[in-house]
Amino acid sequence: MRGTIPILRIDGVLLAAVQVELRDAVAEAFQVDVLTAIESERARGLVIDITGIDVVDTYVARILTDTGRLAALMGTETVLVGMRPEIAATLVRMGYPMQGVRTALDLEQGLRLLRRSRRATVGKYGRGPA
């Protein structure tokens, strides 16, 4: 891992808590780290915790949704957790579509969402996890 945002593995899911200001260099390293970790850990889900972020402008929103879309290309679902009320209000007011990521209130609910969605996939295609 080369970036400043640590990525942990919990029960087959990657967890990244963003607690630094996202700059161009930080964002790029984060996306490379996420993709590398998805491959090496064979992660079935990615949770990005943004509790520590106080401003989500279109630049940060774009980094978050792009990361979700990159993960999706590798077959991994992304859930964004910890969005504060004022950030949700701001994003809606600006009209920013958070495409490529799902959202949940907190880490616990984010992990539950990934488990549920995994079960639904298994049921649909009739096979278990790899």
Partner: protein, 136 residues
């Protein structure tokens, strides 16, 4: 309307965006803005400061506290000497896509504040002024 100048900050490197944003947040909170109004103003500031940095190579941010009657607001002016915006209506419509922002930066910022004034001359630069009043 009376205005008191509080900060004049350079926008030269990427980290200056954070400095400008923090100055605006501190000032808004000190004047009793609620978290929603403060987040709206700070986010619009961040958006426009990043524009000045990434499209114009930098500029200057001026932050004032304004008073009118019994209400108080924070005004942020971003001035750059960059290439300017050739098609303003398109840029403000939200469909104007740039490399990184989906084109919602200007139109989104405008929706976050109470007053939004943009002057741009191709080849000379852009000045954008935003104002948000504290909710009474």
């Amino acid at each position: 309307m009376t205005a008191r100048r509080c900060h004049q900050l350079p926008i030269a490197v990427e980290d200056d965006i954070i400095v400008v944003r923090r100055a605006v947040r501190t000032l808004a909170e000190a004047h009793g803005f609620d978290t929603f109004a403060s987040a709206a103003l700070v986010t619009a500031t961040s958006e426009l400061t990043r524009n000045a940095w990434s499209h114009a190579g930098g500029g200057v941010a001026t932050i004032d506290v304004v008073e009118e009657g019994n209400r108080v607001g924070v005004r942020v002016t971003l001035k750059d000497s960059g290439p300017g915006i050739a098609d303003l209506p398109a840029a403000l419509s939200g469909g104007f896509s740039t490399a990184r922002s989906l084109g919602l930066g200007l139109s989104g910022s405008r929706r976050l504040v109470d007053q939004f004034d943009l002057q741009s001359t191709v080849g000379q630069g852009t000045t954008v002024e935003i104002l948000k009043w504290k909710m009474l």
